[in-house]
């Protein structure tokens, strides 16, 4: 399993809200493609898949907040 983590985005960003996932649980995803988009007050940004495989779990859903470093989903590597 490869964890999807909300990365460090700069000094004063502690958390961000999920705008949407590009895929559903069970979808095949490819490494390096955008997998989930987040937003803060004035910025939005996408996080890419770190591995190719199946998007096994989405633990932070659309409209929910995640903290920097938090696991937001999992990819079963292939």
């Amino acid at each position: 399993m490869k964890e999807i983590i909300l990365p460090e985005l700069g000094e004063d960003i502690k958390e961000a809200t999920v705008s949407f996932w590009h895929h559903k649980e069970g979808d095949e995803v490819k490494a390096e493609e955008d997998i989930v988009e987040f937003y803060t007050d004035k910025a939005n940004f996408s996080v890419k898949a770190q591995a190719s495989g199946i998007l096994k779990a989405i633990s932070v859903k659309e409209g929910e907040k995640a903290s920097v470093g938090q696991v937001i989903g999992e990819i079963e590597e292939r």
Partner: protein, 237 residues
Amino acid sequence: MKFKIINKGTAEYQEAYRFQLELVNQRQKGFIDDTIIFVEHPAVITRGRKGRKSGGNILIAEQELAAKGIKVCEVDRGGDVTLHCPGQLVVYPVFDLNNHGRDIHGYLRNLEEVVIRVLRDYSISPERIRGFTGVWVGGRKIASIGVGVSRWIAYHGVSLNVSPELKQYSMINVCGMEKVRMTSMEELLNRRIAVREVIPVVAKHFNAVFDRKDCWDGREDGSEGGKKNRFKFSSAG
């Protein structure tokens, strides 16, 4: 390394947006260097990610907007509702933030800093308001900022009120906040001012704030002549 400037003149929001995405793609692949697009949009309302959730904030009916020919576009930038219209200078820097500190909110502060320095050049006293991204003068908003970041390539950017018709802002709650009053350089200076006049000033301060000394292509002696030639302007239709 070159710091390229593209002055698109007036372009529809969607057209300029597609152009930005093309540049983001090229920047990600390393085909182009950091680029700034300058453009003015015909009147359009755009809603960022925050606005998608908050709903309201557009204060006039859909039919009325349609009658005025004003579209509402949902966009992938941070922030709430904003309005673009002629007289507003829209600046879209397509920058690789890997070279600018990888700090998204730090980047927002730098964009504010560029606008602040531009306004000071015109003897306007701008301010930041903590927690309210953008640039303000005497409690009124003069510039709005909202960005998108894809694999550390930033896009979207800044809109600076040079000389827009301010009454148009009554159509929205600017940035999703009630009772925000907008101002413009024209209102504050009490004289006509053209968007094209401000573009080189903004370009100059981008260079200083983002410390792009390496893009100097003017004279070595630091004279005004050199500074004026620092940027290569090009037109991209």
